[in-house]
Symmetry: C2
């Protein structure tokens, strides 16, 4: 059963640590999964977790480090010399995790650690991986994999798997290459177990194979693995040689991060922050969009003051400033978020833009009609000014129509110019639609009050 | 290499279908992955895809159906009698996919299909799965798995795997049970390949095992698989008997759907819609939040009209209605979205609420100070009314402070009462903060204009 962390548990553990009862403290956590131990560390004071960490054996402690949030891991690394990182941490890790961790260190410390790794081949693998961009298949992949040659038979293959598998923590496919190391297919372990031992690999290889290149962007890797339900994906270089493999657990993180990024973008947060980050980070992540909102508000006040003379004649128009602004923002965010999700899912490219606009317009037309109808009835009943009643409803209808078209168009255009379309959601769309909505409202007002 | 769908390709295929050139049409798609064929289907007219579908062999066509979006799949099912669905579709599927598909049909059609399935055991498995709630481990799991008894040796185990694996499309673990079918651990294929054939399973079984019960909610299943990096998770019943297993690809879908749900909630969309859905669905999904926004706007107009007499004296206050409303909304959405993400990630429970509020207040204090300072400078330079200058800045500061606290509190409280905290993001928080912001602004105005 999954472990559940309680306040009592933490208190008890803290007591043991502070009383230096090493054996008892270790006993409390020894049966736990590294991910659970990492969770416990996050609840302890830094010195307490470093103390506990030093009690763990190297293999477990390396796994715990991988699971820690980046800022907490940094504190651990700060307390360790490079040679200790190499021996206690990196030695017990797969190359992709090792490269990710080293990537967080300063260049000097990276070098110090790499030079302290005893296994030269491992050090070379990690150095290779460090050279790839973090956001590409190269940055995601691990070097450890099981590779067999097409002219081997199953018996030799099993011997080799036994030998190679000492280095590979877990694997699901065996990759088949030709004599030049060019990837030609896969064999599942299931097939190897089922096959006779004299069968040639070439006769059971599945060449119907999906692979990516080292420079394929992470987001595309995630989409491919999701679409084809893959647990593992081989990575090849420019001439088709097998250089690594990506597993689904790395991609789950990419999917989660992408979703979080879009979510934060729409809520007006610019950096990847969590509620546990410090006040400075949290402030810095939020201030930019608030300043955009402030600028929008100031521009809005300018728009209103340009119509000061009309407002002096019909001041009741001010009653619906907030309503018009808010509705423009809401409708715009709805439209843009649907487009942004469509683009992210990769389902929006093929169909023409005009079809999408027509559909958006229809939705906006219906919604606009219903909402301005409701508002019309409300004002008929409760407002003294018929001119205002007409003005607000016409303006609301126009604003919803405009905001939907705008909210659809902007992310599509950003995407066309290779800018992240998620930029066009949240505060940006709200602020813009606020100002434009006000302008429409005031313009309609000028017209209507002139007529009625 | 992944397949890329082009307009040319679709046009060429349409021509072949309409010219009834079966062999040529089939040849164009025969080498493709079912997920790609499903993508092609989405680009064709319904009759064209049904025509093409009938050319495919049963196994491929079943896989294609699984990959289709639900509404397109419905059209396929409508064109097929129950007996044909059983034979051409369900027969070629794993039990979890089959149950998911049948779950979309009407009860009568479900029964019709179940009775037409020849393999009684398979029909029973599917009927079992249909009885679980869709959003639980029972609803996610498949019945097909490889199960061995602890007292077998590796040789017998391999024989059994060969036999059982005919039914299981792909597997990563072999589950070990005792004589009462109680799950006691797993053995990886890797271990079986490496072990001597006389070794007893009991000696290589890994009992350090994470499992879930059939009634564990999907979201928790996803969090567990993410946290522990699992590719496959066994499901047990109330007394610990092994009843199924969940694979990571099913959970990737859960993670994606959860993220999409939260994203749509924050953008004011109530149902799970895509840009490709029809106008009616898209309208229905958006209207509710817009009506909430409309109601908020109307309440806002009431708040303003309650202060009509002051506004007649100082009408310039109306200039900043939009700014105050927008900033309250922005700051509130930022706070609530960080809390909602924290709750979703399961990292927010342990720490006390007071600590979080203090941090939120600090962030809001700094942001509020900077923003109201900027606005003060702007108004000093460009506004004629010092009372307005003072009023707007004090109000902005208070609104940001209030909105942040409110945005933090509401999702926490909803969560406490087991309501989805994501409800408190987007239009709800924006609308509420709009109204409260206006009230604060007008109250500060009454005070300040009284003093100055």
């Amino acid at each position: 059963m999954p472990f559940e962390l309680t306040r009592d548990y933490i208190d008890q553990l803290k007591e043991l640590i502070n009383g230096k009862e090493d054996t008892a403290a270790l006993e409390m956590i020894s049966e736990l999964h590294p991910a659970d131990i990492a969770e416990i560390f996050s609840e302890l004071e830094t010195e307490e977790s470093i103390y506990l960490y030093n009690l763990l054996d190297s293999e477990v402690s390396a796994d715990v480090l991988v699971e820690l949030p980046e800022d907490e891991r940094e504190e651990f690394f700060r307390s360790m010399p490079g040679e200790m990182i190499a021996r206690r941490v990196i030695d017990n890790m797969e190359s992709d995790d090792a490269a990710d961790l080293l990537g967080e260190l300063s260049e000097e410390k990276q070098e110090e650690v790499l030079q302290s790794i005893e296994d030269v081949e491992q050090a070379g693998d990690i150095a290779d991986l460090l050279s790839y961009d973090e956001d590409t298949a190269g940055g995601l992949m691990a070097k450890e994999l099981i590779k067999v040659y097409e002219d081997w038979d199953v018996a030799r293959c099993i011997t080799e798997i036994r030998r190679q598998s000492e280095e590979v923590y877990e694997f699901y496919y065996v990759y088949v290459v030709d004599k030049d190391d060019i990837l030609i297919g896969t064999v599942t372990l299931k097939k190897i177990i089922i096959a006779r031992s004299t069968t040639r690999i070439r006769n059971i290889v599945d060449t119907d194979l999906i692979s990516v290149r080292t420079d394929t962007p992470s987001e595309e890797v995630a989409n491919i693995m999701k679409k084809y339900d893959l647990v593992s994906l081989p990575v090849i270089d420019t001439i088709g040689r097998l250089v690594g493999r990506i597993t689904i657990d790395d991609v789950v993180d990419v999917i989660k991060e992408e979703a979080e990024k879009d979510y934060q973008m729409i809520s007006g947060i610019t950096e990847d922050v969590e509620h546990s980050d410090n006040v400075f980070l949290l402030t810095r992540a939020r201030l930019p969009w608030l300043i955009i909102g402030l600028t929008g508000g100031i521009l809005g006040s300018r728009v209103i003051s340009m119509h000061e003379s009309e407002l002096r004649i019909s001041p009741e128009m001010a009653l619906f400033f907030p309503l018009i602004g808010a509705m423009g923002g809401n409708a715009g965010v709805q439209s843009s978020s649907i487009v942004v999700q469509g683009i992210a899912a990769g389902t929006i490219d093929l169909q023409g833009i005009s079809g999408k606009l027509m559909k958006e317009l229809s939705v906006a037309f219906i919604n606009g009609l219903i909402l301005s109808g409701l508002l019309f009835i409300y004002n008929l009943l409760f407002s003294d000014s018929f001119a205002l009643t007409i003005t607000v409803s016409i303006a609301l209808f126009s604003v919803i129509l405009f905001a939907s078209v705008f909210g659809t168009f902007v992310p599509l255009i950003l995407h066309k110019f290779n800018v992240d379309p998620a930029l066009a959601t949240g505060p940006f769309i709200t602020t813009t639609n606020d100002i434009i909505g006000l302008s429409i409202y005031l313009a309609v007002g000028r017209l209507m009050y002139g007529i009625i």
